[in-house]
Amino acid sequence: MSPDHRPNGPRHRLLSVLVENKAGVLARVAGLFSRRGYNIYSLAVAPTDDERFSRISIVVDVESSPLEQVVAQLDKLINVVEIGELHPDEAREAELLLVSVSADAGQRSQVIQLVGVFGGRIVDVGHDAITVMVAGTPEAVDDFESLMRPYGIAGLQRTGRIALPKLDGGSSAAEVAVTATDIA
């Protein structure tokens, strides 16, 4: 992943979109992006605590079109109830990663150690590979992914980022991003 393709770079912005929980809503949102030529970097959707609504977290590539126009067009969808732009500085963002890493007996302990540093969990163990799960800030997940690459990745799935606004004045342990230099 080249640096300017990383989320949080100037070309990516995060929208938190509250939609009515109705059939076809995701198709309406995705269809809008494709027919107006907007690029989605990642998208995650799930029901909220109020079952009438779902929340879609979309990372938008604003190089292709101004965010203001994307928001105004999204807002015209009848099922879209509310749109918030979450600035990375004012949001708690998280992402989940599942990755199967080739790790023979010799390398396994290194991998397991890194999983521990990132607060991850081993969810499956095979003869020469293990599958691990890491949740954290998208940056931390990026870092973990790049640390796993040299071992050989057999399968990988990320959820896309989800986010909520920061509570006023709050700071939490999750905010402490773990970077490659921290561990080296």
């Binding site: 076809g24 309406r28 126009q69 105004a72 015209k76 009848i78």
Partner: protein
């Protein structure tokens, strides 16, 4: 009261005060066609579903009320996609009901199944798939609400057959509950104040009036604003008639085929009051060179239009009529408006109007420079002359409908519009075949008005089967075909930009025989080949009131639309009629 879904649908349409439905039945929508028999709603049986859609659009544009079309699933639904897309581009309130296979069969590639809500997602303001008969009144109410409020547009209700035969307990919702839909209405007073300050300071202001004037019923308010401030008005292709052409401040149509004064006024303006217009590429030409000196006030009911193409100094998110009324009030309250400040500007505009009117090589009887079709031939019939004569021979409130092409541009340029909602055309999508069915829909909605369509020979052939509908339903529309034997607008581009290499644009003046076509459809058919026959033929057509009339005007194939701003060029590079000396680029005085 227990009703079937089909009965509930028809009753819901009655509750919405629908007076006419344009449609054609088929398997999936069959249950709904039974209660239609007993309903006071008039049903007009079309010959092709595209006709039903355009009729609904013509009806809506002529009356301001939503048009309704009803068709079956699969091919019936796909045949209305073009009218939906057309209505979406031109913001026309249009409610389309499509039959659908039974809910249990959806997704199985059943006979005449199509993913109608999926297909029409991008060409409707919203659409609904009904899955429970109990939802019908709520969805119909929501559909009409969405179609007619905010920026109007088409909506679609996809209606599975089992939902139609199922039963429900009748109710009528007394409100709509759409948590994500809040159309704007009143303008922010501080934005109005800011706009008023710009208006009162401007020296070369222009009102750029768009289709939103008509949608919001703002013609009166616009007139008041123009009279109060003395600001001249250009009316876009979608706004012709929203401000009377006879008004001294009316400059007519801007854009690619707009007149010199309207185009150039915008280019030289220091303030552009964009009212319900959307900076369409056919108006702006090259955006970076559009109205380069102007500050912009942009009033629109659609937030996404404000700043989409041109960032305004003042953006006003509001209903156009309410915003204009508020602006008038604020300006009026500020004291008497000094019109003398604008005198030099108005004088400049008058000079341009005198120097560069829309013009053509005249060939009508008595004209000084008669253009003949060759030695010993009759004078050629100029399409512009046909339109001018038609205007002179019809009542001022005649509704004029057009197709898409050269004839459309001449109709807009040479017709003089005096009243709102008297001009119906396909602006945004540019749909050939729009005119005949749209004229029928307009006449159904306004039987008291004379309705003429000016159509191209190419366009006419796309939907002229609906003349059979018009005859059967006794809808006496009048169609003037400007038969130039070509896909004329495409020919013009090949003439100008492809070294006159004409590729697939010749149609023949005689194939089909348009008079024979008209007669085969039970209409009166007339043919006009020379200028002196024009008036008598129109008068004859005006006298027919029990069936449609088609006049085959054999017009000059070589005629071109002027002025023209070549696609992608700056509006400063406007090409005027060859008989006029080319304007000096950049000259203001």
């Amino acid at each position: 009261m227990e009703l079937t879904g089909a009965q509930a649908l028809v009753k819901s349409l009655e509750m919405q005060e629908v007076e006419v439905v344009f449609g054609l039945p088929g398997g999936a929508i069959l249950p709904v066609y039974d209660p239609i028999i007993d309903s006071p709603i008039r049903h007009i049986l079309v010959r092709h579903e595209q006709g039903a859609g355009h009729m609904a659009e013509g009806y809506a544009q002529a009356t301001g009320r939503p048009g309704v079309a009803m068709v079956t699933s699969g091919p019936g639904a796909t045949n209305v996609v073009t009218p939906l897309a057309n209505a979406y581009m031109d913001s026309t309130p249009f409610v389309c009901i499509t039959g659908q296979v039974a809910t249990s069969a959806i997704g199985t590639d059943a006979f005449q199944e199509s993913d109608t809500t999926g297909i029409t997602l991008g060409v409707t303001k919203h659409n609904w798939l009904v899955t429970d008969a109990a939802d019908i009144p709520r969805i119909v109410r929501e559909a009409f609400h969405v179609a007619t409020t905010g920026r109007p547009g088409p909506v679609l209700i996809d209606f599975p057959k089992d939902v139609a035969t199922d039963t429900m307990e009748w109710y009528w919702p007394d409100s709509v509950d759409l948590p994500g839909y809040h159309p704007p209405s009143h303008a922010d007073p501080s934005a109005i104040q800011a706009a008023a300050a710009l208006v009162l300071a401007a020296e070369r202001p222009v009102i750029y009036a768009g289709g939103g004037i008509l949608k919001s019923g703002a013609s009166e308010a616009l007139r008041e604003l123009a009279d109060l401030t003395g600001i001249p008005v250009v009316t876009t292709l979608m706004a012709r008639g929203s401000f009377p052409d006879s008004h001294p401040l009316c400059l007519g149509m801007p854009g690619m085929h707009g007149n010199y004064t309207a185009v150039t006024a915008i280019q030289k303006a220091d303030l552009l009051l964009a009212l319900g217009s959307r900076f369409d590429d056919r108006v702006t030409g090259k955006v970076s060179a559009f109205a380069p000196k102007a500050k912009v006030v942009h009033v629109d009911i659609d937030k996404a239009e404000i700043g989409k193409v041109r960032r305004p100094e003042v953006g006003i998110l509001a209903d156009c009529r309410l915003a204009i009324e508020a602006l008038v009030e604020v300006i009026r309250a500020s004291g008497p408006v000094d019109h003398s400040r604008l005198a030099p500007w108005i004088a400049t505009l008058h000079r341009w109007q005198a120097e560069y009117p829309c013009t053509y090589d005249r060939s009508e009887p008595g004209s000084a420079e008669v253009v003949t079709g060759g030695p010993g031939r009759r004078p050629t019939l100029k399409p512009q002359f046909v339109i001018e004569t038609l205007r002179a021979s019809t009542p001022p409130d005649t509704i004029l409908v057009s197709g898409v092409g050269q004839h459309q541009m001449w109709a807009s340029q040479y017709w003089s519009f005096e009243y709102p909602n008297t001009w119906i055309n396909s602006g945004g999508l540019g749909t050939m075949g729009f005119a005949v069915p749209a004229a029928i829909g307009a006449k159904v909605g306004r039987p008291d008005r004379m309705v003429w369509a000016v159509d191209g020979d190419g366009c006419f052939q796309m939907t002229a089967q609906e003349l059979a509908t018009a005859r059967a339903e006794r809808v006496p529309v009048k169609i003037a075909i400007l038969n130039n034997a070509y896909l004329g607008m495409v020919r013009q581009w090949q003439h100008m930009f492809y070294e006159e290499r004409y590729s697939e644009v010749y149609l023949s003046p005689d194939l089909p025989d348009y008079v024979g076509w008209a007669e085969a459809m039970g209409c009166v058919g007339l043919r006009v080949e020379s200028p002196e026959e024009v008036t008598p033929a129109i008068e004859k057509a005006n006298d027919v009131d029990d069936r449609p009339v088609v006049i085959d005007f054999r017009t000059d194939s070589m005629e071109q639309v002027f002025p023209m701003v070549p696609a992608g060029a700056s509006n400063d590079d406007i090409v005027v009629h060859p008989s006029q000396s080319a304007p000096v680029p950049g000259a203001l005085q």
